[in-house]
Amino acid sequence: MAGLEGWRGQWARSGATRALLHARASAHVGRTWYNCRRMCPRLRLHSSAREVSLWSAPEAGLGGGTSCLPGSISSPARGGGSSLLCGCRVEGSRARVPPWGSLVARGSGKRHAEVGFPEEHGATGSRAPEAAVQFRSLRKARVTVAPVFKMDFPSSLPPSLFMTGPLGQSDVPDLSFMCSWRDALTLPASSPQGSQDSAPHVAKALLWEPDMPGPLPLLPPGPDPWDPGLTAKDLLFRGGYQFRRHPRAVLDVTEQISRFLWNHGDIAFAPLGRLLLENFKLEGAHSRSKTKTVVSVKRLHQDLGGHQPWGCPWAYLSQRQRRFSILGAPILSTSVASLLGELLHEELALRWERLLLDDACTGGALAWVPGRTPGAGQLVYPVGGAMDTLCFQKVSLTPESEPQVLSDPGRIQLRGPVRQVVTRSVQGEALLAVRSDHHCGLWKVSTQGQPAPLQVLQVDKGATGISLSPHLPGELVICSRSGVVCLWSAEDGLRQIYKDPETLVFRDPSSWRWADFTAHPRVLTVGDRTGVKMVDTQGPPGCGLLLFRGGAEASCQKGERVLLTQHLGDLGPESLHPMLHLICTQFSLYLVDERLPLVPLLKWNHGLRSAPLLARLLPPPRPGLPQPLLLASQGGELQLLHLAGVGASTPRLVGLPQSLPTRSDSLSAFPLLEPKSHRRLQERLKAPTVGLAAAIPPPASTPVLSLFQLSAAGDVFHQRLHLRADPGPNARAPAASWTPQATACCSRWLEALLEVPLTPSVWAAPTFSHRRLLGGFEPQKVEGPVPEGFRRAMAQGRLLQRRDLGLLPTEERPPAPEPGPEDELSERLEAAWEFGAAAWWERQRGSRAGPGKQPKRHKRRTQLSSTFSSLSGRVDLSDAASPAPSPDHTLPEARPQPPRTPPSQELTQEPWAQGVPSERQQTLRDYMAELPLRTDTPGGASALSSQTPSVRATPSRQHAPQDCTVQQLPRGDTPEGTTLLSSQTPSVRATPSRPHTPRDGIVQQLPRGDTPEGATPPSSQTPSFLATRSGSQRLRKKPRMGF
C-alpha cells in the first residue's frame, strides 16, 4: 500500500481542508475530480507523473510513482571500468557486458569505429585515469596563477553592518545600496602604497561579446508537439477592480467551473447520478401521473452517455433530461459546484503558483560532460514530449567556428520527466546524476562517453534536488519534499543526514529543499526558501550552523526567498573559490563564505524578471582573468558576472555584470512568416529555460565561451561569446549581425519546426457550423489546381501561397502588388507603389461620376471573402493561442445551427477537425472502462515486494531514513541484469517502518522503444509492474497531449 501511503502523505500535506473534503466526498467525488483533471480542457493538465500517480494511485492501484522509472539504455552503454570507482564496492558489474542490441547499432556504430573502442577497456579500466590526468594537467596549466594556499582567508573583509532580525526590517541601512563599483574600490588602508588607480581600469573593460545577435538552434526540433501551457490569462479573473490602486491577481474559478460544466456535463453530474442510481421521486403536483414525476436515472444516463450528439450538445435534449435538469438543478448545482469548486480552486491556486515559480527545474537539466580532449564533450539533456528520454549528444568545440554536432545521440529512455542533470568529474571519473520527480539515477560516463548505470534511488515524497560530491567519486546527496536529506555513497549506502519538515528560519509553506557540498567533504549545506544551513554529516543529527539567513543579516527585503544555492567550489580541487557559496533570491545574488557565516561578502541586485534557477561558474578563461559566473532565469534572461578575488582578497565583481542575448533575440534571424506561424515560433523561442551549460573550448588567441541553453520545449540553443578584454575608452562594439549560415540554419530549423504537428487540441463546443458555410461553395465545382489549392488552404486555415496554386515560386524580390480584383484600395496601393498616387487620384475623381454599382458590389464581395478566410483561421481549434470565447456569448449562436451532415463524413475530409470528438470519446471510454478495475491491482504489487529480499545490512542502518523512503536499487548494466536484481543483487530497503510496502521502485530497464511485451522476460517478481506500465504510460501521456 505504499502508493496509498505516499499518496496520503501528499494529500495530507496540502492542508487539512483537502483531507476533510476528501473524507466527505468519498470515492465518487474522487472519480469526478479525477475525471475533471483528465478531461477539463481549460485546465490543460499536463501530467507530471507525480500528479497522475497521486490521483490514480488509490483507484488504479498503480502504486505511488510507478510511472517514472529509469528504463532501458539504448545507447551503447558498455559496462566495465568499475574499478575506476575507487573504493566503490560495485562488484560484479564489470562481468556483465551487455550484448549489443539492435538499438545499439542504430545509436552509433560509426562512433565506435571512430573512437576505436578498445577491447582492453573492460579488462583494466586504466585508460580513464590517464586521459583524465591529461585533461587535468591542461586545466592546471591554465590556473597556475592561483596561489598554493587557496584556503587563505581574506586578511581584511569589506566593512558591513551586522544586524539580526526578520526580513525587511525598515530601520536598517542597507549597505549594499552601493553600486556595482563599490567592490572595485580599494581603500587606502588595504594598500597604503597607493596603487589604486591602475588596476580597476583594466578590469572595467572586460566584456564578453556575442558572435551573433542571438543564440542559434544547435539541434533540429524534436518530433513531439509542444504546448506552452497555461498563462495568466487562463487562470486569472479578467474583470477589473475599479477602485484598486494596483490590480491584483484573482483566480477565476467561476469561469473555469462553468466551462467545465458546459463542456463536460456528463462527467460533472454522472457520478452523482450514479449515486442516486435508483429511481427517485421529484416533487411534482399530485395530480400528475407517476410516469411524469419519477425519472429513471438509468435512462438519463443513457441519454447523456451513449448518444450524446457531440456536434452540438444542446440540440437533442430529451424531454426527460429537460425535466430533470429543471427540477434537479438546485440540488445538482450546489453539490457539484461546492465540491468541485473547492477542488478546482485548490488546483487553480497550485497552477498559478507554479506559473509564478516552477521550482522543479532548479539546477537545470542540461549538462556538459567534458570528453578526452578539451574541445570535445557531450551534452546531456532530456528530449521528448514528456522530457523523459535522456540524450547524450557528442559535440566538438573549436575556438574558430560554431560547435560541430557529431553523430547520432545516444538515448536512454527513462520513465519520468527529467528535472535536473548534474555532472561532475571527480578524480578523473565523470559522473552523471539525474533527478526525476520521484527517482534519481546515477551513471558513470566512461572516457569514450558511454554511460553505465550505477544506482537508482526512489524518493516517495518527491525529490527536489540532487548534487554530486566534488570530492569523493560517486557520492551524492538528495533532498526530498518531506525535508529529508540523504547522502548516498558506494561505501555507506544511503544515510539520512538531516530531517526537518519545518523550514530553517521562519515558517514558509514551500516544501522545496536543496542540498549541496562544501569544501569539507563531510559537511553539507541544506537549504530551503528561508535560509541555508551547514550540516556535519558526522555530527549528531539536527545540529548545524546557519550559513545564510533570510533576514536582516543579509538585509533581505520583505518577501524575499532563497531560490537557488550553489557551492562555487565545484570545479574540483582547482577551484579558486573552494569556500564560496552562491545564493540567489528573486531580487539579489549573494556570495557567502563558509568561514564567515551569515554575513554575505557580496550582494548584487540582479534585477532579473523571472526566477533565477540556474547558475554556472566557469574556470577563468585565461590565467589571471576573473571567473565568469553565468546566471539564467526561467524566463530566458541570462547574466554574466565576472568574479574576481582569489586567495587572500575578498571576492568581488569586476565591472558591471552584462546581460547576454536571449532566445527571443534570435527571432530576427528567422524568415518572415505568416502571423500564425510567427506566433508559434515566438512562443517556442519564449519557452522557459530549463537548462544551462557552458564550456570553454581549447585556448585560442581570444578566449571563447560556448553557451548552451535548453528550453522547456526541448530545444538546445547555442551561442558563442568571445572576450574583449581591453577595448579602449572609445571603442564601440561593432554590432554583431547574422551570417548567412546562421539564417540558413534558422530557416532549416524553422522548417522542421513547422512540420511538427500542433498539439491536438482539446474538445470545445463548435461555435457555429462553419462546415455548412464552407459547404456553400461546394456546388460550383470548378476543376483545376487553383480552386483546389484554394480550398485546401482554406480548410487548413493557412494563408494561400503561390505553391498552393500550382505556380512556380518566383525569385525572391520585394512583394510587388499583384493584379487583383478591381477594388479601389488595391488599385490605389498599386498606384502608390509605382509612385503614381496622384495620378490615380485624378483618374478616380474623373471616373467617380460614371459607373457606380458594379465596383461596389465587387468590394463587398472581397470584404466578405476576407472575413471568411480570417474566420476559417479562427475556427481552427488547434490554435491554442486564441482564447476560446466565453460560453455566454458564443453559445446562443451555436444553438440554431446543428451540423447537417454527419460529422464522420466531414472529418475524413478535414484534417484539422479529425479526431477531436473521437479523441474525447475515446478518453471517456477508457476512463469508464477502467472504473471497475480500479481497486484490484495492489495485490500483485505487494507480492513483488515480499520477494525482494532486503539483503544488505549497511552500517548506517540506524540512520535509515524513515520518512523519505528512498529505495536503493542495485547496479546493473544490462537490461537482463536488472531483471535479476531482486534475487541476485542486494537491495537496501531503507524503510524500517514499512517493511512490506509494494515497491514499484524496482528498476525495470527495458530496451528503449520496445513495448513492455518486447522486453526480455522479466523476472517473476515484477508482474504487476509490467501489467500496469502501459496503463500508467497512457495516463501520464494522454494529458500531456493537451489537457
Binding site: 598554493v148 594556499f149 569589506p158 541601512p173 589604486q196 509564478l356 561505501e491 555584470p657 562594439a733
Partner: protein
C-alpha cells in the same frame, strides 16, 4: 515644508508603493507578478502616460547598462531625469535613489565622464530629497578616494558628518558613524604617511618634534572617529586594523587589547575569523605567553580549521608541555587535511607524517585511532586513491612520498597509494623510500592491531 512632510511619511507607505513587488499568498514576493497581472488586467487604475514613459525609459537604461552601452544609457538617463518631477508623490520619493544609483553607475563607467561631472551630479543629487544625503555623500567620498583625491573625500565626509535632519533615527546614526569611520580611515592614512616620513627623520632633528606633535593630534581625532563604529556589531576589519595600529604606536596596549577582545569575543558580532587573527597577531607582537596564544588559536581552530595559522598552531601545540596539547596538535593536522583546498598542502602533509610517526612511537595509538575512526570511511578515497597516487607522483614527488608514508601508517602497507608510490623507482628518493617502508612496517596502526 510640504515636501518634507511627505518625506517623513515615506517609510510607512513603502509597502503600498511597491509596484515591483506584489506578494502572493505564501508571503513570497514575486517581482514578475506585475507582468502577469498586466497581461490580463483590463480594469483598475490606468497608468498615466507619464508613468508609462518613465518606466519604459528606466527599462531602457537598465538594458543599456547591462549591455555596457554607456553612451546609450546616458542618453536615456537624460530623459529619465524628469521622473524627479513626478506628480505621484510615492514615485517622486523613490526616484532620487534610482536616479542616483543608475546615474553614478553610468558616470563611473562612461568613457567620457570625469571627476568633475561626477562631483556635480553627486552634489545635485544629495540635495534632492533628504533621505539619501548620507548615502550619497558616502559613495561620493568613496568615488573620490578611488580616484586618489583624498582631500576632497575628506571634505565631503566632514560635510556629511555634521548633517542632521529631524530626529535621529538609528539608521541615520549608523550611517553617520560609518561616515566618521571612513573619515577616521582617511586620517589614519595621512597619519601613516607621516609615520613613514617620521621613520626616515632623525630623532634629533628639529622637524621631528613638530611632526610627532602633528601625529599626536591626528591620533586623538581618529580614535574618536573610529571607536564609535567599532562598538556597533558588524565586520569592521579595515577600521579595527588601523585603529589598533595607532593605539599600539602610542603605547596604549590595554586599549588595543580591549578593542580586540571586544571585536573577537562579543556575542553580538558575527564570528569573524579575522577578529581572532588580529588578536593573535597582537598578542604575538606583545610576546604573550604560549598558553594565551594557544587559547586564542583554539577558538580560531573551532571556527576555521583550515586557516593557514593552523600550521602555526600545530607548532605551538607541539612545543607545549601538556599532553592534551600534543593530542590537539594531531587533531589540528587531521583537521586541515580534511578540506578539499588543502589536499596538496605539502607542509601539512610533512607535519602529519612526522607527527604521526612521532605519536605512534610515543605509543599514543589511541589518539591516532580516535582521529582515524571518523575518517577511515572517506580518507582512503579522498586522499589515498589510485588516481591521486598517480597524479601526485607526476606533479610533486615529495608530496607523494609524505602522503605515502601517512597512507602506509594509517592503512597498512597494502593500501593502494602506498603500494603505488613504493613501487616507483626514483634515484634521488631511494633513501627516503627505504626509510618510509621501514617506518610503515614498524609503526603502521594496521599492523599493531593484529
Amino acid at each position: 515644508m510640504s515636501d518634507f512632510s511627505e518625506e517623513l511619511i515615506r517609510p510607512t507607505t513603502e509597502d503600498e508603493q511597491g509596484e515591483p513587488c506584489v506578494r502572493s499568498g505564501s508571503g513570497m514576493c514575486f517581482p514578475w507578478l506585475q507582468k502577469h497581472i498586466e497581461s490580463i488586467a483590463s480594469g483598475g487604475k490606468q497608468e498615466k502616460d507619464f508613468a508609462q514613459t518613465t518606466s519604459a525609459c528606466l527599462n531602457f537604461i537598465q538594458e543599456a547598462l547591462l549591455k555596457h552601452q554607456w553612451q546609450r544609457a546616458a542618453e536615456y538617463m537624460h530623459s529619465y531625469l524628469q521622473v524627479l518631477e513626478d506628480t505621484d508623490s510615492n514615485k517622486r520619493q523613490g526616484a532620487p535613489e534610482i536616479v542616483w544609483r543608475l546615474g553614478s553607475e553610468i558616470l563611473y563607467y562612461h568613457p567620457k565622464s570625469s571627476v568633475e561631472t561626477f562631483n556635480t551630479f553627486a552634489d545635485r543629487m544629495k540635495n534632492i530629497g533628504i533621505t539619501n544625503y548620507l548615502k550619497i555623500s558616502l559613495q561620493h567620498a568613496l568615488y573620490l578616494l578611488h580616484h586618489g583625491l583624498l582631500e576632497d573625500a575628506n571634505r565631503i565626509l566632514t560635510q556629511a558628518e555634521t548633517w542632521r535632519y529631524g530626529e535621529k533615527s538609528s539608521s541615520q546614526e549608523v550611517l553617520v558613524n560609518l561616515i566618521q569611520a571612513y573619515k577616521g580611515l582617511l586620517q589614519y592614512y595621512s597619519w601613516y604617511k607621516k609615520k613613514m616620513e617620521l621613520s626616515k627623520l632623525d630623532k634629533d632633528d628639529y622637524a621631528y618634534n613638530t611632526a610627532s606633535q602633528n601625529m599626536l593630534n591626528h591620533s586623538w581625532k581618529t580614535s574618536i572617529n573610529l571607536c564609535t563604529l567599532i562598538q556597533i556589531p558588524g565586520v569592521w576589519d579595515p577600521f579595527v586594523k588601523s585603529y589598533i595600529e595607532m593605539l599600539e604606536f602610542y603605547g596604549d596596549q590595554d586599549g588595543a587589547r580591549e578593542v580586540l577582545n571586544n571585536y573577537a569575543y562579543d556575542e553580538k558580532f558575527p564570528s569573524n575569523p579575522n577578529a581572532h587573527v588580529y588578536l593573535y597577531n597582537f598578542l604575538k607582537r606583545e610576546k604573550a605567553p604560549r598558553e594565551k596564544l594557544i587559547s586564542v588559536l583554539k577558538i580560531l581552530y573551532q571556527i576555521v580549521p583550515s586557516h593557514k595559522l593552523m600550521l602555526e598552531f600545530h607548532r605551538l601545540l607541539r612545543k607545549s608541555d601538556k599532553e592534551e596539547h600534543h593530542k590537539l596538535g594531531l587533531e589540528v593536522l587531521f583537521g586541515i587535511l580534511d578540506f578539499a583546498g588543502c589536499t596538496k598542502n605539502i607542509t601539512a602533509w610533512k607535519y602529519l607524517a612526522k607527527y604521526l610517526k612521532q605519536t605512534l612511537m610515543g605509543s599514543h595509538l589511541a589518539w591516532v585511532q580516535e582521529e582515524w575512526n571518523s575518517r577511515k570511511s572517506w580518507w582512503p578515497s579522498f586522499h589515498f586513491s589510485y588516481f591521486w597516487a598517480k597524479s601526485n607522483w607526476k606533479d610533486d614527488k615529495t608530496l607523494a612520498c609524505e602522503k605515502a608514508l601517512v597512507a602506509g601508517l594509517l592503512l597498512g602497507k597494502g593500501c593502494k597509494y602506498f603500494r603505488y608510490i613504493s613501487k616507483q623507482d626514483h634515484q634521488a628518493l631511494k633513501k627516503k623510500m627505504k626509510q618510509m617502508k621501514k617506518s610503515v612496517k614498524k609503526y603502521s596502526i594496521v599492523n599493531s592491531g593484529l
